[in-house]
């Protein structure tokens, strides 16, 4: 359950990431591929070398989806329905990988925001990312 303060904090943080969506998203993906190499299996059809067009483009989409979802968390299931269908029926991603990306998103935000990524912000974003991945994995169950 997210409090109103947490919801506001989540919107604020993701809104600040929109102008740097490509950088933040591609960095999180690159961190995931480097730290958890098995995650690369889902991207064998793309060029995922550092700074590649595919990496930047996919990274941007992730951050934009996170920012959009944050604006109305109570309707996350509806907002993310197309993405959920895509991940479940076409991409068929093993849902454990969402946790790995979530962790790398947290590390990227921590590097980018430094001390402004406070324990309270960390907790709020962690909760939001779990809610987000639960929706993406929902069609499997």
């Amino acid at each position: 359950m997210l409090s109103n303060t947490e919801k506001e904090l989540i919107v604020q943080i993701w809104d600040k990431m929109i102008p740097v969506a490509e950088d933040i998203g591609s960095e999180a993906l690159l961190r995931m591929f480097t730290t958890f190499p098995k995650t690369k299996t889902y991207f064998s059809h793309l060029d995922i070398s550092p700074r590649s067009e595919h990496l930047r483009c996919h990274g941007k989409k992730i951050v934009q989806a996170l920012a959009e979802g944050a604006r109305n968390i109570s309707t996350l299931t509806t907002t993310l329905a197309p993405l959920s269908r895509f991940h479940a029926y076409q991409l068929r991603i093993h849902p454990t990988n969402f946790k790995l990306l979530n962790h790398c998103i947290l590390v990227t935000l921590a590097c980018y925001m430094g001390e402004n990524f406070t324990p309270v912000a960390h907790a709020a974003i962690d909760k939001y990312l779990s809610a987000f991945s639960a929706v993406l994995a929902e069609k499997f169950r």
Partner: protein, 147 residues
């Protein structure tokens, strides 16, 4: 048996050398308690943990955070014998403290995130990968004597 390349050994020693235990230790344990509130079950004797600010101001949390992080020094100095290094500590957590070992992973993840807030861009993807490989070996060692 884990194998470490020379560059991994260097990276681990360099990250550890720059970690200020007195600052990072308390912040790490505080984040575990704030982000994963169920971990508070193990710290019933620590007093007020009722809010993020209470956890951050709690001296027992701060002191225990330093103790925990100081224990990592042993692993850094015994990279080739991490499992044996933590054998007793693992038994203590299993038999006496009854700590669910998945919490070691949560602690490791919080440590990585606190290190990232402090090192910023220096904590690049390659450094993160090596650092987390190291922490995953420590977590496995701490979980190794559960039966």
């Amino acid at each position: 048996m884990v194998e470490w390349s020379d560059s991994e050994r260097k990276t681990i020693a360099s990250v550890w050398g720059k970690i200020k235990v007195d600052k990072i230790g308390p912040q790490t344990l505080a984040r575990v308690l704030i982000v994963y509130p169920w971990t508070q079950r193990y710290f019933g004797s620590f007093g007020n943990l009722s809010s993020a600010s209470a956890v951050l101001a709690n001296l027992k949390v701060a002191n225990h955070g330093k103790t925990v992080l100081n224990a990592l020094d042993k692993a850094v100095k015994n990279l080739d014998g991490i499992k044996a290094t933590y054998s007793e500590l693992s038994q203590l957590h299993c038999n006496t403290l009854n700590v669910d070992p998945d919490n070691f992973r949560l602690l490791a993840d919080c440590l990585t995130i606190v290190v990232a807030t402090s090192f910023r861009s220096e904590f690049n993807p390659a450094v993160q990968a090596t650092w987390q490989k190291f922490l995953s070996v420590v977590v496995a060692a701490l979980s190794s004597r559960y039966h």
